[in-house]
Structure formats: C-alpha cells, structure tokens
Symmetry: C2
Subunit: 240 residues, 2 copies
Amino acid sequence: MTDTIADRVPVLVERGLLADKATEHIRGLITAGRLCPGDRLNEVEIAAELSISRGPVREAVRRFASAGLVVSEPNLGSRVIDIDAAAVRGLYEVREALESMAARLAAERMQSRDKKALLEMLDQHALAMCGSAATDTYPAGSSDWDFHLAVLKGSDNAVAWRICGNELRDMFSLLRARHGRVPGRGKVALQEHRQVAEAILDQDGDLAAVLMSRHIRNSYRNQITLMSAGVPEDRRKEKI
Amino acid sequence: MTDTIADRVPVLVERGLLADKATEHIRGLITAGRLCPGDRLNEVEIAAELSISRGPVREAVRRFASAGLVVSEPNLGSRVIDIDAAAVRGLYEVREALESMAARLAAERMQSRDKKALLEMLDQHALAMCGSAATDTYPAGSSDWDFHLAVLKGSDNAVAWRICGNELRDMFSLLRARHGRVPGRGKVALQEHRQVAEAILDQDGDLAAVLMSRHIRNSYRNQITLMSAGVPEDRRKEKI
DNA sequence: TCCGTTCTTACTGTTGACAGTTAATAAGAT
DNA sequence: ATCTTATTAACTGTCAACAGTAAGAACGGA
C-alpha cells in the first residue's frame, strides 16, 4: 500500500474534536503544576492559547467540573479545587473501596494470560527502578497507575474503570502536582504490588482485596506525612 | 416586608442556568421512561422543546455523557446506553463497595443527632408504606434512595457523595424506568435499612458495612430475577 | 433485480457576536 | 480621609449562523 497524503502530512489530519484537544491541554496544565488550587480557568485565555473558539474550551472545563476537579459558580467561572486534608482522606477512602473490590473481582475473572502480563509489568517496573538514578521512587510518568489500572481492567467493571481511570486519576494528578511524589516508597510499593498480583494469580480474591486495601492505606499514610511536612516553596504559586 | 414583583411573578425570576434546566428536562425524560436505551438525544429537538439554543442543551447532554449515561460518538451524536446484565452487575458492585464503606464511616463519624434523624426517616418510610395501597413496595419517588443518601452524607466523604448521589443515581433511574421497580421487597428492604441504621447508631462500623453490603447484594439478586422475567410490554419503546 | 454511485438531508462541531453579571476602579459627597 | 455611588472592564451565559460529516434516498447501469 503506497503512502497517502495523510501519511506524509500527519499534521493536516489532526482532526480530533477540539474539546478533546482543550481537555488534554488543561490536563497538561494541571499535571505540570501550572494550575494551582484557587486558580481560575479563563475560557478566553485558554481558547487563545490553543487558537480555537470558546465553545470547545468551555466544554473541556465543564468536563473537569463534572469530575469534581474544578468548581463552577454561575457567572463567576471555574476555579481549581483546593485539596485539603479532608479531600485527600476522602479520595483515598474511595480508592481503597473501589480498588480492593476490583482486586477481588480481578482474581476471579482475569484471564490467565492477562495475569501473566500483570506480573511481567511488575518485572518491567523493577527494571525501570534499577536502571534509573533514583531507585527508591517508582518510575516517573504514570507507571504506578499502570498497575492499578491493569487491576481495574481485570475486574471487568466498566463503572469502576471510568471512575478510577478518569475522574480519580485527574484528582491524584493534581495532588501530585501540588505536593510532589512520595520519595523512598518505590521499592515497598513494588513489593506490595507483587503481593497483590500473586494473590490475583492464585485466584485468592479475599487476600487480593485485603492486600490492595492495605497497599492503598499505606500509600495514604505516606501521603499525609508528606503533606504535613509542608508544601515545597517552588511548587507554591506566586502571586501574579 | 411587603411582597415584591419577584414574589408575585415567580416565573420571571427563573434565571437559573439554562444548562441546568436542560439537564433536569433530560433527566425527566429518562425517569419517565421516554428515553430508552439506544435512543438518540437530538440537540435541536430538545432545544426546541425548551425554546432555548443548542448550547445549553449540548452542555447538558455532555454532562450525562460524563456520568456514563449516554455514549457520544463524534459527529454521530449521543445515545442512551443499553444497560445489559453485565452493566447491572457492575453498577451494583460499585454501589456495594462504596456504600458499605460509607456505612462503616458513617458509624464512626455521624453526629448522634443525625443518627436519630436516620431512624426517624425509617419510621416515616414505614408509615408511608402502611398508608399506601401497595404495602409491599417502598414508597414511590426516591424514598429508597433517601436512606442511602443519608448514609452517604453521614460518611462525610465528598467523592463518594458525588459519585453515588449524582452519577449512579441517574444510572439507577434509567434502570428503574426500563425494568420497573421491584415488587414485594419493600418490607424486607425497610427491615434491612433498620439493621444498618442500628449498627450505625451503635458505632459498629464493621457490622454496618457487612449489613449494607448484604442489603445491596439482596437488592441486586432481586433485580436480576426481575430482569430475567422480561421487560414489560408497555415499557418497551415502540418503533417510530 | 441488484449493486454501486451521486445527491440530499439532517445532524453535530465550531465560530463570532451579543447580552448580562460581577468585581474592581474612579468620581463625588460628607 | 472615608464612605457611597457611578463607571468601566472583564468575564461568563446564550444565541444564531456556518461548516463539515455521516447516513439514507434517489438514480443509473449491469
């Protein structure tokens, strides 16, 4: 098959929805830490940055509002929520409930082929950790989430998948951007992941649920100690 | 204070956002069973029904898309999802996970004043059941949800509240509209509610969680037997 | 009759403009 | 100087029109 114009000029076929483009843009602003709690999402400003109209931008903003990441007040606009201690607690509680359930169901429903893929994923994570300079943190990006999403997917529950994979994920991205990632827990987290994966492999749903529950609770404990240590100065938004 | 024009002509001060108006309209279509799985949400049609523009209608439709109630394909529009057996299972699984957690937390965190209000609510439900003709079904409307929402609120978890109170609620409204409500479980459900409430009152979180989990599981079992009995003819959407 | 092609239609995606509201700023009175 | 009152500015909410796409209808050839 000969290459077409679309193959040679891929920039011209960028014809996804502009609302998706705007969503990714805003998500990027959040994960990069450029959008801090309390900041307002100016529709015209974002539209200008992307050289598009306000319509798709507005739609993207309302998506994040539906996810609870921003709060919108009529005629006042949308501003990024402030994730205080209570919000963090609530976030981890929901994750613990949903993901421990997902681990139980994954142990019962996952194909053996996908279970092996789960273990291989953890091997790759181990390799990435040894290779990188900082061996005590989980590899950058969303590798930590990869495992959790794989378990979610294995549970074969579309609702839980949507909640954790879309809404909560952005919430935790914002949390990361604000308070940084937890140091020194990479190896332990990987170990806990492996225990969960083995329980899933053994089709031991109860054990998988308990281990996942404990894993998330440990992660929470680590998070609050990190937060109580204070927010790094360079991550604090300067007054404009 | 003398009455103003706003008091005499309340229809003139209907100045909520049109998107909210459209959202309620669509929600009404769903709960009334006028919007069946597979039906397309025509933006211009809905806008014409409300005598408003497409903008707010579009926003309302995308809200339901975020909640997973409709699926949107680019350039093809949004259609109501088909809640098959797998979807129902997933819905109840998530509810069981979240609400059993909420029951546990409510037992620990609820004010004693709110706990008493919880029991009084059940007394009112009992009265409503005795008063109505059909004593074997929970009172119409959202009384069943009232209890569950009260527990959710008592858990003091904003995330779980948003998920169950907004997204899942519409899902179950659609489920109700499609398959009707479960007959003959009103008294049993009330009994189970009362057991949960008493466990919460006793601050026995573990017991409250187990009882709530069992309650939702029973509800699920009842739902699938109802669904396997088939869809009532009058609720099936006729071909247009 | 059947299949492929063109045309039409109806819908969504996007835009720019206008209206209404809120908040900040400037002007004025005490 | 301080409080109150206009004025301005900036932003959101809403609308109507345009552009683009996908499905179906009409058409023509085998």
